[in-house]
Point group: C2
Chain length 106, copies 2
DNA sequence: TAAAAATGAAACCATTTGGTTTTATGTTCG
DNA sequence: CGAACATAAAACCAAATGGTTTCATTTTTA
């Protein structure tokens, strides 16, 4: 749970982390408030926040003794771009047929 | 590497699996051919295919002694839907401002 | 200033993950 | 038929993951 090995794909792989993102979509929140929404320890939630932070999906700023986390959806663009490539295969019947035909040709 | 605990999010979390999907986007292929594109063992690739298969992102059919795998992009729709929710936060300046304003109100 | 609050950091743990090697099993082809 | 081919299945392994508990640090606040 340390290095820069956490990209967007890995970050959103965990359901708890996806829930955290959804929570922060409403409103920025301090760790303790975030963790109060989950059945796991505050420490565990903090670790998830670190991972999300590495992936730049959230940012945290210290305010007094609290650390306030905020959603940073920009990195999700990478996911959107990745997805876009595959959309041609389902977006309509024609492109599906096109795909089949192309495979037949080979 | 077994149960039905592999959803789309987890399936695409691994870079090798994403590469496998991209390979199959061109054309359906047997395991040995797929694994020839990677620096890991055929067995390891087969396991990745099992995981992709659990997530319904690929399907395999046996033809003679070969098992031919095919891309099944449909489950990526779940990802697209998930993403759609967050797009409001980056799609244009107005919606970003809207987000800020809504948070101020609270 | 001392206690409470909020977080950080470290040590630890069981399970999962991504890989290997080895051993079987079914299929094709000379 | 027997060898070669393609995959399947099993046993094993190190590292990563998602948790925990315990202890320390910083900031309020009564």
């Amino acid at each position: 749970m340390n290095a820069a090995k956490h990209d967007v794909f890995q970050a959103i792989a965990d359901p708890t982390r996806r829930d955290v993102l959804k929570l922060l979509a409403h409103k920025e929140l301090p760790i303790s408030e975030i963790s109060s929404h989950f059945p796991i320890s505050r420490t565990a939630v903090a670790k998830h926040l670190h991972i999300l932070s590495e992936a730049k999906l959230v940012s945290g700023r210290k305010v007094g003794r609290e650390k306030i986390y905020q959603l940073r959806p920009e990195p999700l663009k990478e996911l959107k771009d990745w997805l876009a490539f595959y959309e041609q295969f389902w977006s309509n019947r024609l492109s599906i047929l096109k795909h089949v035909v192309e495979n037949e040709e080979k």
